[in-house]
Structures are given as structure tokens and as C-alpha cells.
Amino acid sequence: MLTAPSLSYALLAPILIVLAGAVAGVLVEAFVSMVHRTAIQLTLSIGTLLLSLQQLWRIRDQSSTTAAVNSVTIDKAGIFLQATVILLALVAVLLIADLDNFVALASALPGSNEEQSSLREKSKQTEIFPLFLFAVAGMMLFPVATDLITLFVALEVFSLPLYLLAGLSRRRRLLSQESALKYFLLGAYASAFFLFGAAFLYGYAGTISLAGISAAAGGANDIFLLIGIIFVSVGLLFKISAVPFHSWTPDVYQGAPTPVTAFMAACTKVAAFGAILRIFYVGFAESQTIWRPIITAVAIITMLFGSLVAIAQRDVKRMLAYSSIAHAGFLLSGVVALNKDGLAASLFYLFAYGFATLGAFGIIALIRDSSGEVSDLNRWVGLGKKSPLIAATFSFLLLSFAGIPLTSGFVGKFAIFSAAYESGNIALVVVGVLASAIAAFFYIRVIIMMFFTDPVNDSVSVIIPSIKSRVSIIISAVISITLGIAPSLLLTTADNFANFIK
């Protein structure tokens, strides 16, 4: 006899709205003529996200551990993370809407006649929008999922569209497809690790819910708990590109169409860190003696490795990929802190980092030569002379990544390091500031190239941005500046929302 599960639709509505929007997007693909699709899809995506955001606002004070039986917990931190994902997605969709970054016909082989004719016909791959919405829905589910199966489903829901999106670059298609395949294969491995770990945890605790695992901690056969935690962590650390599970990041960041890289870099981090924070704070807090040394070590290696290897990069997208690896290390300090301040700091950091990342990749998409986007740093020389405003904005975002005072990145770094210090993890703080000092070097090198070097003949120029990317870049930059000068509003909000319920 099956009983119908009880669902609190109001609390699930933000996710459901996005899913419904995605399904509607698929229908638009089927029934609307090619000419109108882009406009309709864009409107639909933005409308869906706004509607979802509005629903989130309505439930902002509610919480429940049984929103979908015991699989989803809507609480303060969950709502903050979901809102962050939606806000970032709203800005990202404007970048994605510049479809000239994407392949005209994904099914055409690179270099084939089909590809040529699709380019001539100016066809557009508008399926990108529903894929994007599915990914957003998965990202919203991931940080509120509270059992291992739902976590796994959410992980796949947002990962699969991303694998596809990564392969859709219009230029350098083989590179893009290679990166998509690499991302998919490594992602599949990571998922397998996650499932393997989940099985061990189930074997240990007899339940798949995080609260149940937490309650079972301290029982006999700790080794199974340890194995479970380690393998689940591997799956999660892969998604946030922590060392040593980072190897896909530079390739995918470089190969994917830049707007997708922007979306992925910003939103995946929020979703994956949201889930990690919940899993470790709620599910594994009681067994912290097991995993804290391991995650601390991973954080330290990640910070140092990301910062050091970024120095050697000559491609701006790869450089930002390594920088995002370093930032994953900084964010892991917030996970290891395991206190309320650590959670609040992580929430702030994710928000600030997400917008700075969107802005930076948004600008990268504008830097082109006759054959398309140029991410080779050597050809960025003298950009400051040609387009001072764009170069200055990019420099500001880089300084924010570097954590110079009066930028959002500094406030985030300060918050997260003080939480780490508070938890007694002084080594992490010292390594963190050293890594920041190393990282400053390569950020500043880009600024030198743009401002202190004279343009050469084959250096690049900035295309006139479309209104959409202009809006998204301006929003990202303004948020980064505001959060640097007057961060208290968001800090207070993050503080109020820094609460997981069990």
C-alpha cells in the first residue's frame, strides 16, 4: 500500500518554478519558429528566475525539515544560497543571451559543410536556455537536499546540462568539445565516488539522511564512517575543484564558451559549497575529528597549488581557473571553521566571489580580434590605452580577487579567515595570507600588461558590448564595489541567515 508523500509546495515552489520554466523552454523549442525563439527564451528564463526569486522572498522566514518528506530541508542558509544562485543566474543569463559565443548548430561536425551552412543561415542553438534553467534548478536543490540520494540527483541535474553547455563554443570547437568530454568523464568518476561513499555511509548509519548519519556517529565500526566521508568528499571536492581533484578546471574553463564558464564558475561554486557546508555542518559535525585534519590539509594544498600554478599561466581563462581553485581553498577554510561565523563568512564570500567572477568573465568575452575571443594574455598588452574603462573595471575585479581592501574580496577574505582563526586553525590563516600574497603577483601582472605595456600590432581590441552584457558587467562591478565599501548590509543578512536546521 503506497501512501502519497506530503509535500509543502510553497517551500519547494522556488525550485519547481525554475523546473517548470525549463520544461516550458523545451516546449518553446518544439513549437515556436526559429525567428522568435531567442527573445521568447530569454524572456522566459528571466521571468522564471524573477518569479522564483519572488517566491523565495515570500518564504524567507519559514523553515521545515520535511519540505519533501525528509529529503529537503528549507532553512535560512538554504534560502540564502538559493537566492544567491538565482541572483547570479539572472546576471549570467544576460551574458549567455549573447548567442554569438555559441555554436550555430551543435550537431554539425567541426569544419563540415553542415557547419558552414548553419553559420550562413545564422541559426542559433536556443536550447541553451532550457539547459541553463535545468542546471539552475539542480543548483537550487543541491544546497537544500538532506539525504544522500537527493544530493546525488541534484548533483546530476545540474551537472549534465553543464557538460553539454561546455561543449557549445562557437570558436575553437574541438577544444570546447574535448573539454566537455573531459568534464563529463571526470564528473562521472566523481559521481561514482560519491555514490560509493554514500553506500558506505548507509551501511554505517542504516539511513541516508544527514541527520541520521549525524545521530549514528560515534558508534562502532568507525572505519566505514571514515570511508564514507572520504568518498563522499571526493565527489564534492571534485565539483568545487579542490586539489587534487581540480585537473578538469583549467581545461573546461578555457574550452567552454565564456558565458558558460562565467555561469559555471559562479553558480556551481555556490551550489557545491552550499551542499558541502550543509553536509559537513549538519551531517558530519559530530565526526569532525575524523575529517577536519583531512579537509584542512586539502584546503592548504588547494590554496597554495592554485596560487602557485596560476603564476605560470599565459591564458587569462586558465589563470582565472587556477585562481578559482585557490579561492576554493579559501572557502574550505570556512568549512573547516565549523562555527556560525564560518558559515556566515562563507555565505558572504560566495555571493561576493560569484559576482566578481561573472563580471570578470563577462569582460573576457568582450576582448576579441578578427577571428574571435582572445584569452592569450600576451595579446592583452596595452588594453588600458585602448579601452581604459573596461581595463580599469577588469583591474578592479582582479584586485577584488586578490583581496585588496575596499573590494568585496577583501571583506570576504577577512571574514572567512577570522572565522578560521576563531576555530583555532591558525595554520590555515597563515597559509591563506601567504597564498594571497603569491596570488597578488599574477593578478597584478595582468594589470601591468594592460596598463604599463604599449599596445603592439596584433594586440586585441574590445568589441562594443551588447546592452545585455553591458548590464551584467555593470551590475557585477557595482556589487563588487558596494560590497567593498559598505558590506554591512549583506554581512548582517548573511549573519542572520547563517543557520542550518537539522
Binding site: I404, P405, F417, A440, F452
Partner: protein
Amino acid sequence: MSLLTIVGLLPLIIAGIISVLPSKNNELIKRIAFAGSVIVALASLFLAIGFDKSNTSLQFVQSNAWIPTFNINYAVGLDGISLVLILLSTILVPIVLLATWHESDGGRWSSKAFYILILVLETMMIGVFAATDLFLFYVFFEAMLIPIYFLIGGYGSGNKSAAAVKFLLYSLFGGLLMLASIIGIYVISGNQIGATFDLTQLATLKIDNRTENLLFLGFFIAFAIKAPLWPFHTWLPDAAKAATPGTSVLLLGVLDKVGTYGMIRFCIQLFPDASKTFTPIIITLAVVSIIYGAFMAIGQKDIKGLIAFTSISHFGFITMGIFAMTSQGMSGANLYMVNHGFSTAALFLIAGWMIKRRRSSTISDFGGLQRVTPVMAWTFFIAGMSSLALPGLSSFVSEFLVLVGTFTRYPIAAVIGTIGIVLAALYILIPVQKMLHGPIAASNEKLTDLSLREKLAISPVILIIILMGFYPKPVLDLINPTSEKVVVNAGYTDPVAKVVK
């Protein structure tokens, strides 16, 4: 709103006005920037007039919540030490602007950007000395690097880009170490008295020895890089050579003082026990700086490099005076900061004029300037004499106080330090002889003497150097009470009777 805030904001407002002017109108921009900086200097004089010398607590205080989540406040206030350093900054800026009227013309960017950078820098210089909230100080301390970085890299000469980066990375590295210490002391305050960045409250914390030593080192290394103390000095000669003379004046005259100021304000006040522990090492480093800087200066062929290394030697004196922990040493060090600011300003500005006229910065390219350009030669001579601490000129008083203050506690260090004075005579007199005297070197015959603008710019500096040499009392009156308070608060008493004023 305190007058201090207004003085601090003024340069920023003027920078805002300049930013909306058309960038073609260079002359107008220069005039507005200069007039604005004069107004700032005059406004800062009102701070000095309104300052109550007998009161050793902070004055012109203002505190507004900035980031309440971390209890960070916009908190500013003045004591004697910070007041004189702010005066030094606000007086030097208009002099620099007037003296280097055409400095920005050949830069990578427009003159407009140059003046905006200078004025933004001035706001930050005032802010860094006025801040009484540790976090606010840090923000100014780090943010200050950005304008100076662009000033060196954009308007300097020679290997400017590399020098700018070296400067920035050294400073950032130090700053980030300090950030770790700031986080540390912030968290400790949270455990003891409720999280705060207020300096007065932070000074009351009880920190165990090991932690205190580590936190102290975080601060000290940052300040030693800034000051710069041997062996953290290597960025300075490069930066000073590459920067324009005006930027060098602000860099060595004011910005580097943040290092020594920070040692007094933060290292000693927040970590008195650790300061005691490390004093022998620091005094040693200071003595090494004095001697090393002097020897390197003697060996310099480049006039800007010479001035940079003399500064390293002088910063050694200042650091020695600070960590001697006597009220004479402390007062002397504070006075030295001011005097060094003015004598370095004079040296750099005049050297800059010489270099511009001769199109060379190599000392041996000059000769016989005394006969060709007497005014330029005489002013350079006076500035040089002040730099070697000739009695009757300003630096003498401070150097004497530092040596007396150090001798009572560390006689050996003071004795070695006096060797530095002897060497100073060498590193100043040799170039003076080569450049100003002797036969007129080839292609020096046609050099023109100082213009009216240049004379106007340099005369107040020379005047201050002479006045402060004969009558340092007004400045000492501002400095002495605070210096004594610092020494007493750090738990020291003077080994001998106070110096008679």
C-alpha cells in the same frame, strides 16, 4: 563631523572636481590641484592651532559605525605624533605639486590622472595617520599602495614598471602578514573583551607570550618593509630611482613614515612585552641599516640612488630611537621623521631639477654647478648639510636626541650609530664636491638656474629646515607628551633625567 575628517576628505573632493574637468585643459587642472592642496594645508594648520598640547589623550575624535558585524568603526583621532605627521603630509603635497609642475606631462597617462592619484593618495596619507581603528588603518595602509603604484609605473622613468611591481609585491606581502596578525588580535579581543578594533581597548588585552610574539612579528615585518629596515629594504632604491622626484618625495618623505609610525603606534602599544623581547634584534637591525645604508650611499653613482640609501641609513636612526624606549629617543625619532621628510624633499626636488636640466642622473656628469646655477647649488648644499645633521639645521636636533636616548640604554649601539654620522659626512660631501664644485663639467655650462616657481617651491622647505634647526620647540612641544606617554605605557622609565627643554 570632526575637523580631522573634513581635512581628510578635502583632497578627495578636489580629486572629484578634477575628474569632471576636460583632460585637455592641463594648466587649469594643475592650478586647481595646487590651490586645493594649499587649502588642505591651511585647513590642517587649524588642526595644529586647535590642538591642546597639554592633553595627551586623542583629540578631534570621531567615530561612526562602518561594518557593525565586525564592530569596525570609522574612528579617527589625533595625538601629537599623528598630528605632526599629518602636517608633514599636507605641507609637502602643495610643495611637491608646485615644484614638479611639468612632471606629469611626459607620463603614460594624462596630467589629470596624475593629479587625481596624488590627491587620492593625500586623503589616504591623512587617513592612515588619523585612524584609531585597527581595521581602518589597515584599509588605508593597503589601499594607499594602489595610487603610488600607478604613480611610479605610469609617470616614472627607467625600469619603472618592474620597480612599481617590486614595491607593490613587497608591501602587499608585508601587509598580508599584518592581516593575519590583525585577525589574530581581533579574535583574541573577541574572547576577552568582546570583538573590537579600537586601539585603546586592544592595548588592554592579555595575550600569552608565544602568541604575542607571533602577532608582533606580523606587524613588525610589515612596518620594517615599509620603513624600510635592512634586510627588507631592497625595493626602495629601485622605486626611488624609477619614480618621478615628486613621487619619491611622497614615497620616502611620508609613506615610509607609516612604517616607523606603525612601530610606535601598533608594535609597541599593542605588544609591549613582545617589543621588549625583540628589542635587541631590532636595535641590531637598525644599526646595520645605519651603517649599511651609509656605505651603499657612498658607493652610489646615481643621485637618486644616493638619496634612497641615505634614507635607509636615516630610517635606521629612527628605528633605533623608537626601540631605545627612552623618552628622548622616542621624541628624537618622531622629530626625525618630520625632519627627514623635509630634508629628503629638498634633496629629491633639487636633484630632480638638476637631472631634468642635465638629462642625466649620474653624479659624475655634474660639476661646477656652484658657478653656473648658484641658487640651485646653494639650496642643494643646505639640504645636504641638513641630511648629514649639521648643527643648526633641523636633522641635527633629532639625530642628537636619538643618540642620547639610545646611549642611556644601549651605549654600544649608540656608539656604532655615531659612526653613521661620520659616514654621512662622506656620502654627502663627496657628491657635493663633485657636483657643485670643481671645474665646470662639459655640457654643464648652459644649465639654467631655478625659475621663480621653483624658488617659491623650495624656499619654504629650506626655511623649515633652518627654523627647525634653531628652534624645534613648537614641534617638540607637540611630540614630547605623546612620546613620553608611549614609553611609559610600554612599561619603561627613563634611565636618566629628562632632557631639558
